[in-house]
């Protein structure tokens, strides 16, 4: 089991009534509410926390969002470049590059190759389709994100693995000479991860044997996706996928006692309880009409307003004393075959002291007891590469 520290780098100082007025924390909250002097402090603090994670022996995960108080990281290559200079050993998992929204996949290939060389091979390259609220900031056609994602992916992987100039005339991108310098440090290319929560995306990922990352899905949902990956792998004759093929992102808080963890860990819910604009969160065609119709008629969808207790039951929040954390993470691993734990250790107003105390307790008292999970090859499965 590998554990990754993650913060979405929020700017939590927009008054709640403003968020309510705009029915949104994203896209349309005026940037007049953003104080750049505070932002400077926040960047320093969040990067310091990542450096601390490196010192504690944790890995690092970064992501990006746009036009939102929930995430000040607006382009992962910049934060990754900064952290490469300040960290020594941690893997830097970029989760991920929002492929449909990037104007030029060849530049994505170049930037990641440069980061991979600068870090001497510490990069994990996640590719994401982007959440619905990324549609407006990038003004990408919401109906074609899946198609753009797939073509960008194909072009990037080809750019990384072709040792000479090649021609690309696709549906969305055209280049007459693709010849990426530098080559990636890791050969043939950095590990590729894909995020998702639907059967379509898990099938596509299994076909390519990439690592599949589930974010904040309840146990049975995660388990279903993992089983869908297994089934597709078996159909194609791949070996039984090991824990290295599965990552899970949870809201995490470790404290001395369960009570203390529940008490302060509730601050993590700031991330979930932000206003979600009904239209900006459901751009036309982002979901197929058949799927969206089912949602409108009243069944599916993620539970963003669940209580702390409900979220703990579903495994979306992992909080507790070190012993409780060991128990919960072991259960997650055994039930869902998870080998990479992506820990959202910080959200909203959580202080640096409390965040770091949780990270430290985890690293010293939990991690040693779970690190072995999935590290031993069982059957044909691949062992986790423990650095």
């Amino acid at each position: 089991m590998l554990a990754y520290h993650f913060t979405e780098m929020p700017y939590p100082y927009v008054p709640e009534e403003v968020e309510k007025e705009y029915k949104s924390a994203r896209v349309i909250v005026p940037n007049s509410y953003c104080d750049p002097k505070i932002v400077a402090e926040l960047y320093e603090r969040y990067l310091d926390d990542y450096v601390y994670a490196d010192e504690l022996g944790l890995e690092i995960m970064l992501n990006e969002h746009h036009q939102t108080m929930t995430c000040l990281d607006v382009t992962v290559p910049l934060s990754a470049a900064a952290l490469i200079q300040r960290t020594k050993r941690a893997k830097i998992c970029i989760l991920g590059s929002p492929l449909p929204h990037r104007d030029n996949p060849v530049r994505v290939a170049e930037e990641l190759a440069m980061l991979d060389c600068m870090s001497r091979g510490r990069i994990i390259s996640g590719f994401v389709r982007g959440v619905p609220t990324e549609i407006q900031p990038a003004n990408t056609n919401p109906v074609l994100t899946r198609q753009r994602f797939e073509e960008a992916h194909d072009l990037i992987v080809r750019a990384w693995t072709t040792p000479e100039p090649f021609n690309w005339e696709g549906r969305f991108w055209q280049h007459r000479y693709v010849n990426v310098w530098p080559r990636t440090y890791q050969q043939p290319h950095p590990p590729i991860w894909i995020t998702g929560s639907t059967p379509d995306s898990v099938t596509w990922t299994a076909e390519r044997q990439y690592t599949y990352a589930c974010f904040l899905t309840p146990y049975e949902w995660t388990e279903g996706l993992v089983n869908a990956y297994r089934q597709r792998s078996a159909e194609l004759g791949f070996p039984e996928p090991g824990p290295d093929k599965f990552a899970y992102l949870a809201l995490c808080y470790t404290a001395e006692t369960d009570e203390e963890a529940a008490d302060y860990g509730k601050n993590l819910l700031w991330y979930l309880y932000r206003e979600r604009h009904p239209q900006l969160n459901a751009p036309p065609g982002y979901l197929p009409p058949q799927v969206l119709a089912k949602q409108i008629l009243g069944t599916a969808g993620k539970a963003y307003r669940d209580s702390f207790e409900q979220l703990q039951e579903k495994g979306i929040v992992l909080a507790g004393s070190p012993d409780t954390m060991i128990e919960k993470i072991t259960y997650l691993h055994e039930r869902c075959n998870i080998g990479h734990l992506l820990m959202m250790n910080h959200a909203g107003f959580m202080s640096p002291e409390k965040t770091r105390r949780s990270m430290e307790l985890f690293a010293k008292e939990v991690y040693p007891a779970i690190k072995h999970l999935g590290a031993q090859p069982s059957g044909k499965s691949e062992a986790l590469a423990l650095a």
Binding site: R171, P284, G285, L292, A293
Partner: protein, 272 residues
């Protein structure tokens, strides 16, 4: 004189059309010169009286655009001209009978793009609250962002009397039967597919409108707040000889909100 839209209910045929191998849901009724109606983003509904009134004078064809309603969407379709060429082929398939071409809103954009390419098969052109051109400077949205409006705001923007709109229009919601709901959501999806960026216009279309060489009427709901009457005037001004007419007490859908006044205005033009 009786109201032009109170005639006996018309028998609409619903056999699909096959154009370029694309199967299109289509309403068809009436006899006479063919009138091709290219709909806006709203759902087709045979209870709308303006269509019955038009079918007394013309052979009216109202297809659902590819990807809309229950019409097929070819995998490679992703630009407005994909629709334009489907309908140019449909005109050709009507065996060179001159067609009255009417386009409403989004359908008006398609009709205008057809007319700047070729009017060999077109007799007259009617554009109603059409989108498709860029008029103002970059920071002004000529066409309101209907995808970000909730149902209430959408009715405010598109109806002179939003209450009437709420009773008349079918909008996506939990009370709509699943099959109809999917058709409505397909309308939204397809409108986004073809009109997302640049939003509901082609930057080159305005300068090309001068190529239109058939009699043209540009009719506009006076209270349209989705795309204003001034925008309509700018549209008409680019088309040689075009007439511009306002329909009072109507928003973006004058044919739904003021069907009598609408038919009275457009019938003399279409019948000439």
């Amino acid at each position: 004189m009786s109201s032009p839209t109170t005639a006996a209910t018309t028998a609409w045929q619903t056999a699909p059309l096959l154009v370029q191998g694309v199967e299109l849901e289509c309403l068809r009724a009436g006899q006479g010169a063919p009138l091709l109606v290219l709909h806006d983003q709203e759902y087709l509904n045979t209870e709308w009286p303006y269509l019955d009134a038009l079918a007394e004078h013309f052979e009216v064809l109202v297809p659902s655009h590819p990807g809309f309603g229950r019409s097929a969407l070819p995998e490679h379709f992703d630009a407005l001209d994909d629709l334009v060429y489907v309908y140019l082929d449909l005109l050709r398939a009507l065996e060179r009978r001159l067609v009255r071409l009417a386009g409403f809103g989004f359908g008006g954009w398609i009709a205008a793009e057809m007319a700047v390419r070729c009017t060999h098969d077109v007799d007259r052109l009617l554009l109603v609250d059409a989108v498709g051109i860029k008029v103002s400077e970059p920071t002004t949205r000529d066409v309101a962002d209907n995808f970000v409006l909730d149902a209430e705001a959408l009715l405010e923007a598109t109806w002179h009397d939003p209450g009437l709109g709420a009773r008349t229009m079918k909008l996506p919601g939990p009370k709509v039967p699943e099959d109809d709901l999917i058709a409505l959501l397909r309308n939204r999806q397809a409108a986004a597919l073809f009109g997302w960026k640049p939003f509901m216009h082609n930057p080159k279309l305005r300068a090309r409108l001068r190529r239109i060489d058939v009699p043209t009427l540009v009719a506009w709901g006076e209270s349209d707040r989705l795309v204003s009457a001034d925008y309509g005037r700018a549209f008409a001004a680019e088309i040689p000889g075009a007439t511009f007419e306002l329909i009072p007490n109507a928003g973006h859908f004058p044919y739904l909100e003021q069907p009598d006044a609408f038919v009275q205005r457009v019938l003399p033009f279409l019948s000439r």
